[in-house]
Each structure stands twice: as C-alpha cells, then as structure tokens.
Amino acid sequence: MVMADGQVLKDLLLQIRDTLIKTPQDLEVFLEGESIRPGIIVLINDTDWELEGEEMYELQNRDLITFTSTLHGG
C-alpha cells in the first residue's frame, strides 16, 4: 500500500477502510468506530503493535503490517 510521508498506523487503518473494504459487513469485522476491532492481533514487522505505539506508530518504507483475527473458531 502506498502511503504519504510521515503517516501513522491510524492513517493506514483509515486508508484500508476507504480503499480496500467494499461492504459494511467486511468493515465491521475490521474496525469498531475508527479503531481496530478488539480481538484482532496487529503485528508491525512481526512485533506486537502494543510495543510499537499502536495507532501512533510512524510508518516506515517497506514496513510489513499483519492483521490476524482471533474472533473466529479454532
């Protein structure tokens, strides 16, 4: 995904919402309001986003952001 300079993870979430997600049903399993839905694990370059400042993490070139839902069954 192409992002402008100096943007944070929150901007990425909103950009995903605006450009990638097409139906309201898909949106509600990803976001709650403007934040990530509880139960989704976010990794920034394989590190728990809770250690990286969460939504305020400043995106770097070639960062790999992973979203894994734990909401469905095992």
């Binding site: 100096g6 590190t47 770097q60 894994t68 734990t70 069954g73 095992g74």
Partner: protein, 365 residues
C-alpha cells in the same frame, strides 16, 4: 492526524534483558522476546499438565485435530513436551469429517500435512459413515439455524467412537482460556448453573462415555496461541465454518474481547472465578435416586435386578443414559423430514446442497 508521533525505540525483553521484546503478554503485560516467549509458553502448559496430573506414562492419547490454529499448536506443543519431559505418551491425531464442502475438506488437507510434519498416526471419522448424514445434508434438510446443535451432539459421539476404535480412552482438545471464559460467561448469562460448575474443569469424565476429555490449553490465551503458530510458522487452516456460528457464543465472544481490551487479565480472572463457584447440591437429586432404586416386579412375580433400560442406545448400540442416544434422537426427527424433502424437491442428498440453501436463505426479496 499524525501529531503525537512515537519514535522507534528498541524495548528489551523483561526476562532475559538481552534480546528485543516482540510481544506483550496479555496475562501479565510482560514484554518478552521470541525465545523467552517459546520458553514460558511451553513451560506453562507443561506446568498445567503436571499440576492436573493429566497424563499417565504409557497412555495413548488422541489429539482432536481440526487443522485450525488451536489444535495444530496443541499437536506441536504436546509433541515437543512429550519428548522434552519424557511423558511416555503415544500421540495420535483424530479428526472429524463433518461433511461440509468448502470448509472441512480443506482443513482435513491441513491435518494430513500435519500428520507427516509431526509423524503421528491420523484417524478420520466421518459423520456420513457413522450417522449416514453429512452436515451439508442435515443443513439442507433442517436449515442452518440448528446446525450447531446437530454438529455438537454428533461431534461428541464421533470423537468417542473414533477414540474407542483406536483403543484410546483420552482425547485432548485445543480449547483455550478464551473459549473457557466465553463458556463461563454464556452459562452465567443463561443461568445454566449445572453447566457453569463443570465448564471450568480441565478434565471431564462422564458416565455416558468411555472416553475422558481434557484441555491442556485451559490457561493459555488465544493471542499467545496465534502468535506461537505465527512465529513457529506452523501449518494451519484458518476459515470460519461456512454455516452460522453459534449466535450466542458470538455475542459472548465480542463481550469478552471488549473486556480484554480494557483489562487483559480478565480472561484468567473469569476462569478463576468459575473455579471457585461451588453450587449447593440440588434437593431433587434425592428423588431421582429414589426412583432409580425402584425394582420392577414382573407378572410371574420375579423381580428384575436391573431397571428395564440398559445404558446403551436401542438404535445404534452406543453408550447412552437414555433409551435412545441424543444423536439418534435428533436424526430420527430428520429422517422423517428427509422423506418429505425427497418427494417435494429431491435435491438434498448431494454434496454442497447446503451451500445453495444457505445462499437462498440469505437472499431477500
């Protein structure tokens, strides 16, 4: 938007104080590195197993394997611990084929790869073989709403029968702390006190089953299982069952996840609370046992020593506390419907028919 920027800082592991921390444990908010994570994750499960005295040396244990992340991590960790601590267990993978096209066939392919990766015997038992019904057929006949009821009853018996066939009397499942807290919440919200007390047991044995069940992941967080599978690059299958998920469980899960976001330790706290609940025994039980002691006096004056009903199902011969086991009872109702559907439509007994039905149900006019 980007006013308060957080600079990149390397956080050191709070356990080894050497490597970079890669995760925050939900249980205690500790920031730890990958190597320390593997170590605490595996060791805590080992401690749970030892504290509960879960296994006996030489025991043959079947791992209920769905191909999903929980059971895949369970197979991997049990193999590791069995070798590391020399439990002396023989581990076998036991899978259920519910007959759900586009879901179970894909996940079974994962289990077949796991069989090779972990070098374990794999046994697959199918609903179709055991009950003459696949889940696709059941849903086509009974609709999607009650699918979890049928599937749950049948899975319980299928696991028992699969294990018995292998001469195994212990099945371990990948139920984790999140699942357990969810079940406690559900039983609490429904006022199901009978289940509430039992739902936190790590080991369950019932008179109606020759097979005991246990949950080595009872205290293991979902988040850590997912991360373990991710970092270890385990081969697992991740898709929701194509049929309706249990609606009420879904509600409890969302509630739990919202609570966890505020207070991550709440999952363990709910389990601990559940463990402390000891309910007053019901008075009715006295009456039940009095009835059970009644003896039947036959016409010729002889007395039968055992009540007329034995502890096997009249239809399938499987263990049951009632005259007809729950699976046969449910399927009996379906058989009547199948005949009707066959006359009216005739398109039920084909694979994937349920999918069509589901799509039709979703349409609105």
């Amino acid at each position: 938007m980007s006013t308060a920027r957080v600079p990149r800082a390397k956080i050191l592991c709070e356990l080894c104080h050497d490597r970079k921390a890669i995760m925050k444990r939900p249980k205690n908010l500790q920031k730890i590195c990958k190597e320390c994570f593997y170590h605490v994750f595996e060791t805590e499960i080992h401690n749970t197993i030892i504290d509960a005295n879960l296994f006996q040396r030489g025991e043959k244990v079947a791992i209920g394997a769905s191909g999903g992340k929980d059971s895949t991590v369970l197979a991997s960790v049990l193999k590791t611990l069995n070798e590391r601590y020399d439990y002396g267990l023989e581990l076998v993978l036991l899978s259920i084929d519910e007959g759900i096209v586009g879901y179970r066939d894909d996940s079974l392919a994962t289990v077949k790869r796991n069989q090779k990766q972990y070098d374990m015997h794999l046994e697959i038992v199918s609903y179709k073989d055991l009950f003459k019904w696949s889940m696709d057929e059941i849903v086509a006949c009974a609709g999607v709403r009650s699918s979890c009821t049928y599937c749950g009853v049948m899975r319980r018996q299928a696991l028992d029968r699969g294990a018995t066939k292998l001469g195994i009397s212990h099945v371990v499942t990948g139920h984790n702390a999140d699942d357990m807290a969810e079940t406690v919440l559900m039983n609490l919200l429904r006022g199901d006190t009978g289940r509430l007390e039992k739902s936190v047991n790590i080991l369950t044995e019932s008179s109606g089953s020759p097979v005991k069940r246990s949950k080595p992941f009872k205290y293991t967080y979902q988040k850590e299982i997912v991360l373990y599978a991710h970092y270890k690059k385990l081969d697992y299958f991740s898709t929701e069952c194509t049929y309706a998920p249990e609606a009420f469980r879904g509600t409890a899960r969302v509630l739990l996840k919202n609570l966890e976001a505020v207070r991550p330790s709440c999952i363990i706290d709910i389990i601990r609370s559940g463990e402390q609940l000891k309910l007053r025994p019901k008075k009715q039980r006295m009456r039940v046992s009095a009835v059970a002691q009644e003896v039947e006096v036959k016409r010729d004056g002889s007395v039968s020593l055992k009540p007329e009903s034995s502890n096997t199902c009249e239809r399938c011969g499987y263990l049951s506390n009632n005259r007809i086991c729950q699976a046969c009872f449910l399927l009996e109702g379906l058989e009547k419907n199948r005949a009707k559907v066959l006359i009216e439509g005739g398109n039920t007994a084909i694979a994937g028919a349920a999918k069509i039905t589901r799509e039709l149900e979703a349409l609105s006019f």
